[in-house]
Subunit: 136 residues, 2 copies
DNA sequence: AAACGTTAGTTTTAATTGAACTAATATAAA
DNA sequence: TTTATATTAGTTCAATTAAAACTAACGTTT
């Protein structure tokens, strides 16, 4: 049956993605982070001007908990505090370069897959590939 | 640049996989399980005749801990005990249907993607798709 | 007696919290 | 303008809670 062959192709494509994922996450030293911490980074990444209070609300925990959580993330070099210029009580929680890369790992991995595709296929194959995927 | 289009295609294909993943994991009620428990299921799935002692060795914990771990998995309906026929001291740890499905979610999701591909593309497109993926 | 798993109770560890605290700001009366 | 008062943002710290794993003792089967 044809499905067997399709399955092999799907599996191969996914494996390619997984390998890129693994390679990048290794390079970023991502294995030191817990699943929760990864989740935190994503929330911080997509929230403008994240403060401790805002973060506490989002996570539905108290502010001391946020202090604890953020301190751990700072120790891991994935987050930094940035004091607000006009109100010095306020500290923004910002991702470091490392933190941002980790938060956007799926995107980076996809980029890598794109590079592989662009490097291996010729122009006509690329057009065909894009056209076929578009139909799904 | 062509990469933009390739990226869109890669992203779309991955999204398709993620959606299938999500749909199945929802249907299986997988969100009740912790990450560790998912890990346990995978270990149980790939180990023949898993006993409490063997599981304790693999996880490098004591047998009472395994008892507790397994009891929790039983409560979640993903695992069951099966007494050995010829030696009634021994209990095997077996996945339930639900547990097996959860352990093999990535496979199931890939199957679903395959079905979608088989349903949408015609024979020629499928051949092309397979041929292109093979080159990666 | 030895092997397999369970039960009961303890230890350990991490996460969370409430309460008190510092620092910065806002408000408004003197 | 200055000064007193209250409020807000985040921190520190001690205490609690909850989960995970352990030891020791036990029942059952071989």
């Amino acid at each position: 049956m044809k499905k067997k062959l399709i399955y092999e192709a799907v599996k191969k494509f996914n494996s390619l993605g997984h390998e890129c994922n693994l390679e990048i996450s290794d390079k970023l030293g991502m294995s030191e982070l817990q699943v929760n911490q990864l989740h935190y980074l994503k929330i911080i990444d997509r929230t403008d001007d994240m403060t401790f209070g805002k973060f506490a609300e989002i996570l539905k925990v108290t502010k001391p908990s946020v202090t604890e959580i953020v301190n751990k993330l700072i120790k891991l070099n994935v987050v930094k505090k940035k004091q607000c210029t006009w109100d010095k009580r306020i500290f923004y929680i910002k991702l470091t370069e490392k933190g941002r890369n980790i938060a956007r790992l799926p995107f980076l991995a996809e980029q890598k897959v794109v590079d592989i595709i662009a490097g291996v296929l010729d122009d006509e194959e690329i057009d065909t590939f894009i056209k076929i995927i578009k139909k799904l």
